[in-house]
Symmetry: C2
Subunit: 325 residues, 2 copies
C-alpha cells in the first residue's frame, strides 16, 4: 500500500460509480491507499420511494462496500442481513418484490427522516458514511430527484420495475432521466473535480449508471475540460457485462457490446481506458479514437483483485500525466 | 364459547383499552364469542414519532394481542421478533432506548406511509388489523394527534421518555393531554357507542390510558348518558397495578391506590365494577358510591383467564341490564 502511495502523485482522485462494479473499483482505490483522498460521485437516478422510504440503491452499495459490510455474494445489501420486516410487510398484503434487509432498512429510515427534515442528500450521505467509518467522500451526483425511465415494448417502466421486478427481460428502446434538467452539480462535486488530479470512470453500466451522472447539466462539459487525465475501466469483458444488463442494453440501443463500444460512448472526454486481457485485440481500434489503452486482468473477485485493478488504472493515469505537455 | 354467546344479550360491546391490560380483556371478550361484535376504543395519547415513523404503542398492543401474535413474555411487541434494524440504527450513532422489533417496524412503516398520504388513523388501523385477520374493530380514540405530558420534579417529560427511557422513576406531579381540545369523537366511535348494549372499561391505567379517552371532548358526557350499563375491571389488585406505574401515579396524584380509588375516578359514569377477590373487603365502600360490585379472580395469565374475566364482567353487565327499570 505504501508503495502505491509513493508512486501515486499528490492530489485527490474522483471516481464515478453506479452500483456493484463501480463500488468495487472505489473500494480498490481506497484499499490502494487513497481512502482519504477519494471522492466517489454516485448515480442517484435509480433512487425511488418504497413504503414511504427514500431508497438510494447505488449510494448504499458504494457505502456498504467502502465500509466493508457489503454482502459479497450479491455485491449489494449488508452481509448477514435478515428480512423480518419485509416478511411482515408481505403479511400485511403488500408487494415485496424489492428486497429490503432489516439492517439495510436503518439506512433508508434515517436517510428519509433527515431528507424530510430538509437536509440535502449530499449531507445525509456524508453523515451515514461517517458513522460507518468510511473515510472516502461519497457524493450523490446531485441533490435533486432524477428518475431513470426505461422505454420498452411493454411500455415505459420505472427503473426498479425494469431492473428488479421484471428482471431486465424487456428490450430497451430508450432511456430517459426524468428531472435531469433541474439537476445541478453540487458544490461538493464541483470542489471534488477542482481538487482531483484524475477522474476514474468506474466499470458501471455506461447507459444507466454512468449515463445519468454525465447527463447532469454541465457535468460532461466539465469532464471534457478537466485539467488532468480522465480514465475508465471497461464494464464489458469478452462481450458481456460483468453484472447487470449493460450488454443487452448496449446491443438493443445499437452500440457495440465491447470496450470499443464503451470507449465510443466516452470518446469526447476520455483519455485512457483499462480493458480486460480477453479484449486485447480491440486495443488498436480504441487507440484510433485517440484513447490510450492499457490491458490487464480486470475481474474483481477478491479485495486483492480490487486493489490490483485500482493500481492498474492509476498507473494508466500516471502515464498520461507524465505524457502531458 | 357457545354458552356465553347464548347467555349474552344481542348487541355489540364497546371496550376501552390502553396497552397490555386492556388488550388482554379485549382478547378475552373476543375469545368469549364477541369477536365480531366488539369495538375496542384505544388510547392514542402515547403515540409519538421516532426515526420519522408514527408509532402507536397501544393500538399495536391491542392489534397484536387480538391477532394472536403478541409476545406473551412482555405483553407488547410481536412473538419471536428480532431487532436487527434497531441494532443498525445504533451503529449509525442514534439513541435506541425505545425497543423496535423488525416485524413490528412493518406496522410503523405502513401506518406512517398511509398517514402521510392523508388517510385517517382510524382507516389505517382498520386496514392493518384486517390484514392480520382481526375481526373486532380497533378504533383509535380520535384521529387528531394528542400527546400525554408528565409533569415531574425533573420537569415536563414526553410520555415515552417518562415511561420507557426513565422507567417511570419520576414522581408524577400532573398529567396533561396536549392537543386534546382539538380531538373529536370519530364517526366510528360514535357509531360503536350507538350500537353497543354495554361499555366495558378495561383494566388499563385510569390516568394515562383510560384518562385520555375520557378527555376527548364529549366522550365522558357520552358515557354518563349511555343507554346501557357501563362496567369496569379494576386495574388495581391488592394495592398494586398489575403492570406499569398506575399505582405510583395514583398515589402521587392523591388518589387511593385500590379499586375504590379507581371507582371514584369513574364514579360519574360507572354502573358496575369487577374487582379482584383479594380486594373483596372494599366492596361495601364501592357500593356506597352507587356502583354495583362483583368479586372474582381478575388476574389474566392465560387465554382461559382472559375468557373467564371477560365472562365475569359480561355477567355483571347482564345483571345490570336485568335490573334496569
Amino acid at each position: 500500500m505504501a508503495e502505491t502511495i509513493s508512486r501515486w502523485p499528490a492530489g485527490r482522485v474522483v471516481t464515478l460509480a453506479g452500483g456493484v462494479g463501480g463500488a468495487k473499483l472505489a473500494h480498490g482505490l481506497a484499499l490502494a491507499g487513497l481512502d482519504d483522498r477519494l471522492d466517489v460521485v454516485v448515480n442517484t437516478a435509480d433512487d425511488f420511494q418504497l413504503y414511504g422510504l427514500h431508497i438510494s440503491p447505488d449510494l448504499d452499495t458504494v457505502m456498504y462496500t467502502l465500509a466493508g459490510i457489503a454482502n459479497p455474494a450479491t455485491g449489494w445489501g449488508i452481509l448477514g442481513d435478515t428480512a423480518a420486516t419485509l416478511g411482515m410487510i408481505g403479511r400485511y398484503g403488500r408487494s415485496t418484490w424489492f428486497w429490503l434487509g432489516d439492517r439495510d432498512l436503518a439506512t433508508h429510515l434515517l436517510r428519509t427522516e433527515r431528507l424530510r427534515a430538509g437536509a440535502r442528500l449530499t449531507e445525509v450521505t456524508a453523515e451515514l458514511a461517517a458513522a460507518l467509518g468510511v473515510t472516502a467522500r461519497i457524493l450523490p451526483m446531485c441533490d435533486e430527484p432524477v428518475a431513470t425511465l426505461i422505454e420498452t415494448p411493454a411500455g415505459r417502466l420505472e427503473f426498479q420495475d425494469y431492473f428488479v421486478r421484471r428482471r431486465q427481460r424487456d428490450t430497451v428502446l430508450a432511456v430517459r432521466f426524468e428531472g435531469i434538467e433541474q439537476a445541478r452539480i453540487t458544490p461538493e462535486v464541483e470542489r471534488a473535480l477542482a481538487e482531483a488530479s484524475v477522474v476514474v470512470v468506474g466499470p458501471s453500466n455506461p447507459l444507466v449508471s454512468i449515463g445519468p451522472i454525465l447527463a447532469v447539466p454541465g457535468f460532461r462539459e466539465r469532464l471534457r475540460a478537466f485539467h488532468g487525465p480522465v480514465v475508465a475501466v471497461s464494464p464489458i469483458v469478452a462481450g458481456q457485462a460483468l453484472k447487470g444488463p449493460a450488454d443487452r442494453m448496449l446491443a438493443s440501443l445499437g452500440h457495440e457490446v465491447s470496450p470499443l463500444g464503451v470507449a465510443r460512448l466516452y470518446q469526447d472526454f476520455l483519455d485512457g481506458i483499462l480493458i480486460d486481457q480477453l479484449d486485447a485485440e480491440l486495443a488498436p481500434a480504441i487507440a484510433e479514437l485517440g484513447i490510450v489503452v492499457k490491458v490487464a486482468d480486470t475481474i474483481m473477485r477478491t479485495n486483492d483483485d480490487r486493489r490490483r485493478v485500482a493500481r492498474a488504472v492509476l498507473d494508466l493515469a500516471r502515464e498520461l500525466m507524465g505524457a502531458a505537455p
